[in-house]
């Protein structure tokens, strides 16, 4: 499951990075490389660009570990935010060739941003919501079949599908929605 590590792990990791412990950098990479690369790839759509964003994000986290503020959210969301920003600015530089109209560039950046935020929201949302969406969307079950598969009531299956989509819809809301929406308490 890709949900957040305990806050204690986050703070400890930050201290170790700030302290200059190379083994901590390796652990950070092992934990978040696929997240960073995935966000960058969704925004940029190319492997080489995603590799470079991955390199920049981990270098940034290593050089500026003190910028992470645990009160603002998890380390995971901070790293995802870095990945998002680095990828979007790379996309903007690549698109902004002086010939394309600015509105077209912005539209492309906006769509790529929303897609990347949506991926992040899906991987960060509470597992029961994600499982319900998975059954209904990817396996094409109706909500009654999904309820049976999950061992919950029909009402609960409907609730999970609606709540999952509500969380996902915040991906359209703009630049700061990259940290997970605070709907977690709503789930058993």
């Amino acid at each position: 499951m890709t949900n957040d590590a305990p806050p204690r792990w986050d703070r400890r990791m930050q201290q170790r990075l700030a302290h200059g412990e190379a083994a901590a950098l390796g652990e950070l990479y092992d934990r978040f490389a696929s997240l960073v690369h995935g966000v960058a790839h969704r925004v940029l759509g190319d492997e080489g660009g995603a590799d470079r964003v991955t390199r920049d994000v981990f270098a940034h986290a290593w050089e500026h570990a003190d910028e992470y503020d645990p009160r603002q959210g998890s380390l995971r969301s901070w790293i995802a935010g870095l990945a998002h920003r680095h990828a979007v600015s790379r996309l903007r530089r690549a698109q902004d060739d002086g010939e394309r109209p600015a509105t077209e560039v912005e539209e492309k950046v906006r769509a790529a941003s929303a897609a990347a935020r949506a991926d992040y929201i899906v991987t960060s949302m509470p597992a029961p919501l994600r499982a319900a969406l998975d059954l209904a969307y990817f396996r094409r079950l109706d909500y009654r079949q999904a309820a049976a598969r999950l061992g919950v009531t029909d009402d609960e299956a409907r609730r999970r599908l609606r709540l999952g989509l509500q969380l996902l819809s915040t991906a359209h809301d703009g630049p700061r929605a990259v940290s997970p929406p605070g709907g977690r308490a709503a789930v058993r």
Binding site: H19, G20, E21, A22, A23, L25, G26, E27, Y29, D30, A33, S34, H37, G38, H41, R42, E47, D51, T54, R55, F58, A59, A61, W62, E63, A114, A115, A118, D119, V122, L133, A136, Y137, F138, R140, L141, D142, Y143, R144, A146, D155, A157, R158, R159, R160, L161, R162, L163, G164, L165, Q166, L168, S169, A171, H172
Partner: protein, 392 residues
Amino acid sequence: MSTSPGSGSDDAPRLPPATPGAPARQAPERSHPVLKSLLGAWALAACSPEETAAVEEHLTDCAPCAEEAVRLRDAVALLHPEDGLDLDPTLRSRVLAGALGRRPARIPVPGWAGPYEAETARLDALLHDIGEAEWRAPVRLAWFKGRRSVGREVTVAAVISHLAAVDGIVAGALGLADPQSPGTPEERTAARWAADASGRTTSGEVHSTWRHQGRALIRTASFASDRVAGTPVEYGPFCLPLRDAFLERAFECWVHAEDVAEAIDYPYQPPASPDLHHMIDLAARMLPLAIAGRRRAGLAPPPRTLVAAGAPGRALHLEVEGRGGGHWYIPLDSPGAVGTREGEVAHVALDGVEFCRLASGRVSPEEAAAGSLGDAQAVCDVLYAMASLSRM
């Protein structure tokens, strides 16, 4: 991207097509809260045709629900199958080198622990990608004993427990808590398997136990660094200084990762060339003792001449080609002798990865694609000694 009725196009919210003949007539009256609760399922086209029709009728005269319906349907368009892209395994070292180039580490990972760090990270990434059924997939372990190849069929989970059991020897030498009582690699592995079976250890526990211990090893080695590089690590049948024990564990990690990868049909590459070179070098350095051990056990004829320790004597020129390759002169007369170019009586050439397959018991000395010249007994002694480096 799917074209389910829920996926977003830009026009109005009347998406899932009304099913002919189904709805209306005896449809029970549904309240606003019930219809609202159906919006998620509706947007995903996961309602009955009758419910779909009822929701759509409701949307024509309930503005808040209509607004939410558009929003949820647009959200469906953002759902996307996971790409499941495997990261390029060489990316890790490039990313870490880039970061360390910008800000040097105050506590670096010692060079001798680098291959272990790289190999455990690669295996960890593989294990993250596999499902519960694959943890139970059969894996055949093979090694060489005396004059023949032996083997045993286990599971992926058992392979990882085996790695953790033997890594524990190194953990003990570093002063870390070793959850097991002392023993040879085989004894410790057998004890761990028995404990896993009686404790119904889950694959997740097996994975995290191995991973946590490996990380603690790297971290402790980083802080202690050169002070511990020469600390003896007692395996039972042999003893290695800590820096070589880390290389030996890196080698075993790769070899068993290949076993796992093969069992579940997952692509897996050999280690980076410099790491592979160090692993081959360790094996080459262990050969003289392995030759002597086989002689003592009566598995090989006695040496032709006795050479004083530190003196040059007859040597086999081992030429490893390709990735991680190089030249080694293996002393043939006694483990204390020095192998030199001048003493060369035989020459064996083989590929680096093939060398490792031989040294890990994956191929037998006869099968090893070795091009050899010179003293046939020397060639035979060395190839069998290479194979005898393998263990479970």
